[in-house]
Symmetry: C2
Subunit: 204 residues, 2 copies
DNA sequence: ACAGCGATACTACAGCTGTAGAAGGAAGGG
DNA sequence: CCCTTCCTTCTACAGCTGTAGTATCGCTGT
């Protein structure tokens, strides 16, 4: 994929994050990317192609993000520890809420879209990386059924993310990037992990 | 609100569920509702009004749903029991995945939309009923901080719902309405409750 | 220098969408 | 019986969107 393609796809992600799928038009992307009108239309001849390009880019960037955050082997000395894992999850969540906010919003929008466009779904699975990591994580923490527990963990974490992005009031939502946010997310992540792993040990 | 308005709003909900926010046009609603072209445009003069009508209807119907499912005092004899509460949550989830699927999808789409339209957010809070119930629930189960725990519970449950509607593969997803589905959801709900309440008792 | 070529930029146009206003028609009061 | 009033249906139209075709530019190798 060329340089221009990525630039446009990134602009498209921002457009979706700020104006929703409805706002995603060739011209809006041109405007956002600061390129002459018609460029997006030239690179992505149809709207379907544009959406697919956007999703593909999303998958690329977020997969890299996830890989960069080695949750388990982070400072690989010592045995896996619930608290440390929760801190890792919290850091990732904080990133998705702060710097990665646009991408998170775009991702949720695309997931919804994927409901009636199965081909998007497979791209948005991110090569199974999130779930693989979740499995790895719960397995390391002693899960008796990593497949199921990993699945649950991902769903809880995504729920947390969605809820803070678009759901509840701002009651329990300190600004991302701050220590308070990290502490809050750490607590919530711990709750998620605890619930998921409850059938192994009665938790701390 | 008149009879016609509700009919149109319901059609709009279905349109959003099947074609996304992007597919929500006056004419698409006309078609879906089986009314002559122009009707929707007459009842909801602008698109903004249409979306607001849709959201208001969503709030009405779903609030009724929630109120109908008295999770706590359901067969109010006996003390509140984690397992029984989980069963109640599972029943609600199953309803949202099955009969209420369209409404759930529309709700998520609107929540995303509400990110840049705050006035929708307040309507979609459903008069705080879901969170109030969650608070009530965790309080009855002995939470030391019902506000926070209720918040977490709602986010976990919504995550579960989103994930099964639009997220993961069909691995752990039996058809709604079946006993398997209820059992699966019961298990997941129990995990959510356990995690949220972990700091009170080390759970069953 | 220049022909060829790929990448980029521009333009055209058909169809869709949002919106408003006019026309038609049933219900109720006098 | 007719007039008024409200509800419903129809029509018009401006602007936006998706798409494809044409023009322009800059580089490459010869």
């Amino acid at each position: 994929m060329s340089d221009r393609t990525d630039l446009l796809a990134d602009a498209a992600i921002h457009v979706v994050a700020t104006h929703g799928m409805r706002g995603l038009t060739h011209r809006a992307v041109d405007a956002r990317a600061g390129v002459p009108q018609g460029s997006t239309s030239a690179y992505f001849r149809t709207r379907k192609a544009l959406v697919e390009g956007l999703v593909r880019r999303l998958a690329d960037v977020e997969t890299a993000d996830i890989d960069a955050t080695r949750l388990t082997s982070q400072t690989s000395d010592g045995p896996p520890d619930l608290d440390r894992v929760a801190a890792g999850v919290a850091a990732l969540l904080d990133h998705w809420l702060g710097a990665g906010r646009d991408r998170s919003l775009a991702r949720f929008a695309c997931l919804l879209e994927a409901t009636h466009h199965p081909e998007l779904r497979t791209i948005l699975a991110y090569g199974d990386r999130p779930r693989a990591q979740a499995r790895e994580l719960v397995a390391a923490l002693g899960s008796t059924d990593p497949e199921r527990d990993g699945h649950d963990l991902v769903s809880f974490v995504d729920g947390l993310l969605f809820y803070r992005l678009a759901g509840g009031g701002a009651a329990h939502a300190p600004a991302p990037g701050t220590p308070e946010s990290l502490a809050e997310l750490h607590r919530a992540a711990l709750a998620a992990l605890t619930g998921v792993l409850a059938r192994r040990s009665p938790a701390r």
